[in-house]
């Protein structure tokens, strides 16, 4: 792929990213402003406030302006990284950035667990196709996918934190607090990863040139390393990238179960507190990273496999 082609591709992706981001802001705006009734009454408990104070609040949050004006203001604010202030007066961006490292830590460890568990399972399944290993591992991966995170999290707490006492059940207080929540996420991801690994390896094993190498008499491990794994890694890394983006966006459920102070639990708390600026800010922030990482993964996918450029991917 030529240099110009690459630049154009990246540019195109960037434009798509930007437009998608703006569209996402629009969607969130629509949702947040579909509240039945007066948004100020929704957000604040106004019994101790006078009429002037209520109107002042309304002006502060811009609810007295016409809807399209509010939309443009919101758009401008977010694009200039002004996330506003939450209803309790704290800066939204501050709140998010304080809690972001926790989510990042959780995402990284979750991804690692998923890789550590899922990759070997997938590889073994692929090379031992149609044997008992394959069937049992296949069921196991399906099990991992079927288990809801809010159940596995609770079970892990019961078994490892309460009964065995190996890990703390919640909070981010000690270095090994991250183990249980990331394991919960990792287990769910590992099932998916194992299946994708298995199917992509099998796909490559079926390819002519691999069969040719096998026929030529090359030793097994050489085939495995040289040809199969490297090529199979493409869809695997793509999946990892996309899931990492999802994890980075915060997983409200797991974070709530483990009282993990990340942005997932921040969104949930904001929703409970009916704090519209905070909810908006959090979701936009999450969406930003999610789309960004997905776009990067897309670009890398194109870069790796230029043959796919021509296909209608979606």
């Amino acid at each position: 792929m030529s240099m110009l082609g690459k630049i154009l591709l990246v540019l195109k992706k960037f434009i798509t990213f930007f437009l998608t981001f703006v569209a996402a802001i629009t969607v969130i705006f629509i949702i947040m402003h579909s509240i039945p009734g007066d948004p100020i009454l929704y957000m604040f408990e106004t019994t101790t406030l006078t009429k002037e104070q209520i109107e002042a609040l309304r002006a502060l949050y811009g609810f007295n302006k016409p809807l399209y004006q509010q939309y443009l203001d919101t758009l401008y604010n977010f694009l200039s990284f002004n996330f506003g202030r939450s209803t309790r007066g704290f800066s939204v961006l501050d709140l998010i950035l304080t809690r972001l490292p926790y989510t990042v830590e959780l995402a990284i460890f979750g991804l690692l667990w998923g890789i550590v568990i899922g990759l070997p399972v997938g590889i073994i399944s692929a090379f031992k196709q149609e044997t008992l290993y394959d069937y049992s591992l296949y069921t196991l991966t399906l099990l991992f996918i079927s288990v809801p995170v809010f159940w596995s999290g609770l079970l892990l707490i019961i078994i490892f934190a309460i009964n065995l006492g190996w890990f703390p059940p919640s909070h981010a207080t000690s270095p090994n607090s991250v183990i249980l929540p990331s394991l919960t996420l990792g287990l769910a991801f590992s099932g998916e990863l194992a299946r994708v690994t298995r199917s992509s390896i099998i796909d490559i094993l079926e390819l002519d040139y691999v069969k040719l190498a096998h026929a030529k008499g090359l030793p097994f491990h050489q085939i495995a390393l040289k040809h199969v794994l490297r090529n199979a890694l493409i869809p695997i890394t793509t999946l990892c990238g996309m899931r990492f983006g999802a994890l980075l966006a915060g997983v409200p459920i797991v974070e709530t179960i483990f009282a993990w102070p990340g942005i997932g639990s921040l969104v949930y708390e904001a929703i409970l507190a009916r704090d519209i600026p905070l909810v908006q800010g959090c979701i936009i922030f999450m969406v930003f990273w999610f789309i960004l990482i997905n776009s990067l993964v897309d670009i890398s996918y194109y870069y790796l496999n230029p043959k796919l450029k021509a296909k209608v991917l979606f």
Partner: protein, 594 residues
């Protein structure tokens, strides 16, 4: 597949794997060097001395002294590890400014109570009777119609930033509270008050109307003095994140969503005379964490991750007693009660309200669902410990009686349909029932029995802001919530004024209510005040608007290694209960290693 392509891919994959490895190493290093929150659970140093201070600091002095030693008389061996008390409470505070509207929230008050202190305090030995003792004001004088109060200040008290506590600081605090942007809880009372600085340690409050119960009010956390210098510096909006008061602990940091850290104020004056503690507190730090989840709280204390839990929901004491190293619990009688109240504009027929009231099974719920930590209460809105309570009101409160309930429904014009539900003119009786998760068990049980009886009860468990919002907007039929204050006017304001958080709108339907509240506001002495509340409660109970269900349990669970704590009800501001708290880390280690 030409060769160059393969090379490219390989390089890319190596690069990708390398990047992942780098990220992994980086993450591991980050975590190792920078654990998100480091709280000292059990110190790993072997130098753990169970230090009993060499000089006894609890002296019961019966002579009121107005001077306080400038330095602490308590000694701690310098090599002893810093004692950090970790407290799990239900939620994070919403703000730490005692004069801000957010300071009526229990979780905020608990922390505010350590940084600030009120002018008078309740004596814990007399609970649940509210007996006041001097704290920052050591004596008072009042004129015959309770419009002019003069106070003498305690000497030698300092704010955390070094400012002296004196009459001008008191004046500054009162004037600041008048600012409308703060939403001060008692604004109507102080709005037109004038404060006169007579001397450095004498101040007088002048009111245009009589305030016979001012002492009660001055024991509320909202009336704590704030440091003029710091309040000016941070202003109205930011002071709640950078509070500075005279209390035994000073504010260090607040990591949102994680914890609040307080540090011992070494120049603390020692608290009220009757408590006899001279000097600062014993522990060096207190850390507050907001933990909504019951399991987490339980596990935190079982593993030693925290030292104290406040308000554990649905606590079964036997769960804690079952532990090999039994952690003890303290529960405290208080003025706080759980109330059931109606929106009389929506549920207008008193017969329906009486029918529902006859289905409240206080005895069973208190016994089985709160494990006997609550006591059933047959009363109206006035708490049993407060001014205006008349024991004979129990006779007017409907008792649990299914037959009586059926009779009331019939009187309201409802008949039972074929499906067991009550119908009138073809429509079932639907009750929208609101509450918060703290009382979930009771509510579920109540909703189930209402449904079984034939009333279509729809429960909504909401978070506190949503609850307040809906009540305020009148978007409810019935609600069950807790409230607690030693000041009856507070509770009356909650239920029977347009700005009250639990506005029942009874004042709109019955003009006597408004008249009685006015009478109370203008009462010249406590007797008149008490009579007004008594009459109001009688009308209330006869109309079944606000009914008490059971007392709100205030339970603290502490590790065995924590000593010296005095349990107080949640909204009561009493900094002195924390002064003698001590942690024995050796005992903690022994307790935790099974």
């Amino acid at each position: 597949m030409s060769e160059p392509k393969k090379v490219d891919r390989r390089k890319f994959i190596y690069a990708g794997l390398g990047a992942v490895a780098l990220i992994a190493i980086g993450a591991a290093a980050y975590v190792a060097m920078n654990p998100p929150v480091v709280t000292k659970t059990v110190p790993t140093t072997s130098v753990v001395t169970t230090t009993v201070p060499t000089t006894s600091v609890i002296t019961t002095t019966s002579v009121a002294t107005t001077t306080v030693p400038a330095t602490s008389t308590m000694t701690t061996t310098p090599s002893a590890p810093a004692k950090t008390l970790i407290v799990d409470q239900l939620h994070e505070p919403t703000g730490l400014d005692p004069q801000h509207a957010t300071a009526t929230y229990g979780e905020s008050v608990r922390v505010i109570t350590l940084i600030f202190e009120p002018y008078f305090v309740y004596d814990y030995r007399e609970l649940p009777k509210p007996v006041l003792k001097p704290n920052l004001f050591i004596s008072y004088d009042v004129n015959s119609d309770s419009t002019v109060w003069t106070f003498t200040l305690k000497r030698g008290v300092k704010f955390h930033d070094g400012e002296p506590f004196n009459a001008s600081a008191v004046k500054y605090s009162m004037e600041r509270a008048k600012n409308k942007d703060l939403g001060f809880a008692f604004l109507p009372i102080i709005q037109n008050m004038t404060v006169e600085v007579i001397s450095d340690d004498k101040v007088s409050f002048k009111f245009p109307q009589p305030v016979p119960n001012l002492l009660e009010l001055l024991a509320q956390p909202q009336f704590s003095p704030v440091s003029p210098k710091s309040a000016e510096k941070w202003g109205i909006t930011d002071f709640k994140e950078h509070p500075v008061g005279t209390g035994p602990f000073k504010f260090v940091s607040w990591t949102k969503g994680v914890e609040i850290v307080l540090e011992r104020f070494d120049e603390y004056h020692g608290g009220p005379e009757f408590f006899g503690h001279i000097g600062p507190a014993r522990v060096n730090k207190i850390v507050f964490r907001g933990v909504t989840d019951n399991t987490t709280k339980f596990n935190d204390i079982v593993t030693g991750n925290c030292d104290m839990i406040t308000s554990p929901a649905a606590l079964n004491p036997s769960d804690y007693r079952r532990l090999p190293n039994y952690i003890y619990t303290l529960s405290v009688p208080s003025a706080s009660e759980v109330y059931l109240f109606f929106n009389v504009e929506k549920v207008g027929d008193p017969n329906i309200r009486k029918a529902i009231a006859s289905l409240i099974d206080r005895e069973t719920w208190a016994a089985k669902l709160t494990y006997n930590t609550s006591v059933p209460v047959y009363a109206g809105f006035v708490a049993t410990t407060n001014l205006g309570y008349d024991p004979s009101i129990a006779d007017l409160v409907p008792k649990y009686n299914l037959e009586a309930a059926s009779k009331y429904m019939a009187a309201a014009g409802y008949t039972k349909g074929a499906d067991g539900k009550y119908y009138k003119d073809g429509k079932p009786l639907t009750i929208n029932f609101l509450s918060i998760s703290a009382y979930k068990d009771t509510l579920e049980a109540f909703t189930t029995s209402l449904n079984a009886f034939g009333i279509d009860a729809k429960l909504s468990i909401l978070d506190t802001p949503t609850l307040f919002s809906r009540i305020q907007n009148g978007d409810y039929d019935m609600a069950m919530c807790g409230a607690g204050s030693f000041v009856t006017s507070d509770t009356a304001r909650l239920f029977f004024t347009d700005t009250g958080l639990y506005n029942t709108r009874f004042q709109k339907i019955n003009p006597e209510v408004g008249a009685l509240i006015q009478k109370a506001l203008n009462a010249k002495d406590v007797n008149e005040l008490g009579e007004a509340w008594k009459t109001l409660d009688k009308i209330n109970v006869e109309n079944c608007v606000v009914l008490a269900v059971y007392t709100l349990p205030h339970i603290y669970v502490l590790g065995r290694w924590v000593s010296g704590f005095i349990a107080m009800p949640e909204l009561i501001c009493a900094p002195y209960v924390w002064l003698d708290v001590d942690i024995d880390y050796q005992l903690k280690r022994a307790s935790l290693s099974k």
